[in-house]
Subunit: 259 residues, 2 copies
């Protein structure tokens, strides 16, 4: 059942919702481009009909055709390794892009699976390239976003290489908080769309360890957890538990927050 957001006349997948009317305008690809440029970009952006939970946006090995931006819902990227085994490489929340790892090889190294009913904007890469010849600002914006992704993956490498189980989960929850906050949602109360299994996989921990850490956090009064529903009571303490993290302060300076 598709919710009532597209009730009356035009189905969601056909309805042209302009980028400038999108709640994600500030954090998606079009940020910082002029109205006229935006209009030309919008002409090539496709809005897919929502994908259901468990559906794949693409699979590892598929040819790369377009960059995707999450509009609502959430996506998990993972590298399938051996039979049944996989490594989760990232979660994509609204306003975030995915598929950037496929540009070079023209083939998707990861699979992308919807964690819930999710709608995405697709930007066909060939057309994007053509348009970028005239509008270098598009390339520039993509480069910026890719740079940010490289930086974030480095942050995650620090997590996987240096942090304890407790620090990992704390850092993870804090990161989710910040990302939700950025798009205008509550930083302290949300539903986790991914399973404990996915979280553990992403953090390099066993499922059981993740469970135990949730329990410990709750026993410590740091948060309340009821399955996927999370209420964080002390965001500051959570950040401290997460340990040192490279971060961009809102100004232009760069800092490392230690505990």
């Amino acid at each position: 059942m598709v919710p009532s957001r597209n009730s009356s006349v035009v189905p969601l997948s056909k309805r042209k919702i302009a980028c400038k009317d999108c709640s994600l305008f500030q954090i998606c690809l079009p940020v910082g481009i002029s109205e006229e440029e935006l209009e030309r970009l919008e002409k090539i952006i496709q809005r897919r009909r929502p994908v259901k939970r468990g559906d794949h946006l693409y699979n590892s090995g598929d040819p790369f055709r377009s960059i995707c931006a999450v509009r609502s819902g959430s996506i998990k990227s993972y590298v399938p390794t051996e039979k049944g085994n996989e490594q989760v490489t990232g979660f994509h929340l609204p306003g975030e892009l995915l598929g950037l790892d496929a540009i070079s090889q023209k083939i998707h190294p990861c699979s992308a699976k919807a964690l819930e009913t999710t709608s995405v904007c697709e930007i066909p890469y060939e057309q994007f390239e053509l348009l970028s010849n005239e509008l270098p600002v598009l390339h520039r914006q993509l480069i910026n976003l890719m740079s940010k992704e490289i930086f974030e993956e480095e942050t995650h490498m620090v997590l996987l290489g240096k942090k304890s189980a407790e620090e990992r989960l704390a850092a993870y929850l804090f990161s989710i908080s910040m990302r939700y906050q950025r798009r205008g949602f509550s930083a302290t109360e949300y539903y986790l769309s991914m399973s404990r299994n996915d979280i553990g996989n992403y953090l390099g921990l066993a499922v059981e360890t993740v469970s135990r850490m949730f329990t410990r956090f709750q026993d410590d009064g740091l948060l309340t957890v009821e399955r996927k529903h999370i209420i964080i009571h002390n965001l500051d303490r959570l950040r401290h538990l997460a340990g040192a993290m490279p971060c961009k302060s809102d100004g232009n300076s760069f800092c490392f927050t230690r505990s």
Copy 2:
């Protein structure tokens, strides 16, 4: 003491070694651009005087000014965390770029330190941007290289999240082998410019564990190790030991090699 860079006739730093005469032409930024485009790019590329072992190319927090390409030698990127503590985020061999994580924030999140006497080409980013307005191929090439870096960081995440100590070191050595091979050097015999400490740090292992694994590999007859000098006797077995790895086969297909 400044070395004899302006001694005899033409100092190294002033000498124009054309990109097309560089041994790294095939793997550096200029790949796949026309002669005329290359000439214009070369005008903005600066060749720094070699940096000595231990010197920094830039420090965490420094303003971002240019992308660097390693010409010879090697560089370690690391995130300084607390006092003395650090997380190594990558090693850069000849033909490889560094600093891509700083484009977005305009500030370097990592420090970059020479592991040996190293020379780099610097591409001032502002000028690169201006030139790219006229030559979109430059942007395109940068995007390709960034995409490749994102992919490689994902591969490293799989290593940190899923692999045993043995697999990690094997994967690391195999990766070094492939990268040397690519630039025309021996894949089976080389000097590691980085310390065991750096290797362990990068792989999320204690120094002692790295040492023990080297010993084990040698006892197994897989390789001969004499401090930094490595001779690999069975590259195929090394790859098998490294476990499943996402890789681009030379064609256009995508595969996962499982041991």
